[in-house]
């Protein structure tokens, strides 16, 4: 089996490159940057890659640095990278956790895909992309992945409710809320899970908690889409669902 097929790159919660049957040498930061950039790349053009990895030096020097890093990467982890003309990509068999997350999210967000094969996977709930890395291309990609994960978790919660897998639905909804506590659509998903569980008190509690949070943060009330989920006066509801007063 080719070495590339045994290689796994992890970018969520920090960088690592591992082989299935051996431990590669510790990669210098510049090599880690190259592997991470190739792992996240949608543009394999080496001009673009050199410009992103070495943005503050002349183009010729950036290309020289890229050639050097590429040579070192091939020495330290043979078979990880494929070069074709001006294109630079990870070898086909290299596994990347971010790509697995994207594939999972694509499945979740595909309306034609039911939830029989979907689950709240561990890596979905894990931390952010390359924490502590401040390069522009990392910051932007971190935000894109965060949004993707949040949307997918909300949709997954609803799909799992429909399938009656309410424990997992609750886990997905809570994870979405954790990602952005002020996002109403995530809280709506959470309320829907409580309602599906028959936990009306929990649904009202979740609503009131979000309503108060929103009032404190923005001085606004939840949208009608949120309030419509609950009917005032149901058992377990001890507080009217009137909007919190606006903060002026």
């Amino acid at each position: 089996m080719a070495l590339a097929q045994l290689t796994r790159v992890t970018l969520l919660d920090g960088f690592s490159l591992r082989w299935e049957d051996a431990t590669p040498p510790e990669l210098p930061r510049v090599i880690q940057c190259l592997v991470a950039r190739l792992s996240l790349s949608r543009c394999p053009d080496r001009d673009v890659i050199a410009g992103q990895l070495w943005p503050d030096v002349p183009e010729s020097r950036a290309h020289g640095s890229l050639r050097s890093a590429l040579w070192r990467l091939r020495q330290m982890t043979p078979g990880t990278v494929e070069v074709s003309g001006v294109a630079l990509v990870l070898a086909a068999g290299v596994r990347v956790d971010v790509r697995e997350l994207e594939a999972w999210a694509a499945q979740v967000l595909d309306p034609s895909v039911g939830c029989d094969d979907l689950a709240v996977r561990g890596e979905v709930l894990r931390g952010e992309l390359l924490p502590g890395w401040h390069e522009d291309w990392v910051v932007l990609e971190r935000e894109r992945l965060r949004q993707l994960r949040m949307h997918a978790l909300e949709v997954l919660a609803d799909k799992l409710v429909v399938a009656g897998r309410l424990g997992e639905a609750l886990e997905a909804a809570c994870a979405a809320v954790h990602e952005e506590p002020l996002r109403e659509s995530a809280h709506r998903a959470l309320v829907r899970v409580h309602l599906a569980q028959g936990d009306l008190a929990g649904a009202h509690r979740a609503y009131r908690s979000f309503r108060d949070l929103l009032a404190d943060a923005f001085g606004v009330a939840p949208s009608p889409s949120m309030t419509r989920l609950l009917v005032p006066g149901e058992p377990g509801d001890r507080t009217p669902l009137t909007p919190a007063p606006a903060v002026t």
Partner: protein
């Protein structure tokens, strides 16, 4: 001002179904050399263009004045 200092300000805005205004969170990240590992911190929540612009101005003033004071940071 220390010439090696740098920072990122991330403006996240989103629209909720049926809501009359957007909602936004402004998050800062100190990207100065040697500050790796410092968590991002929320500097403002905003729901109007004016709020966002004012928050950006205040953040920049603090950054230039070397007085970072994110609202959910211990600093």
């Amino acid at each position: 001002m220390d010439g090696d200092r740098s920072a990122v300000l991330l403006v996240r805005v989103w629209l909720e179904d049926g809501a009359r205004s957007f909602r936004g969170r402004l998050t800062t990240l100190d990207t100065s050399a040697g500050r790796a590992g410092v968590d991002a911190a929320t500097v403002a929540l905003a729901s109007s263009p004016r709020d966002v612009v004012e928050a950006v101005r205040a953040w920049l003033t603090e950054f230039l004045g070397d007085a970072p004071n994110p609202i959910d940071s211990d600093e």
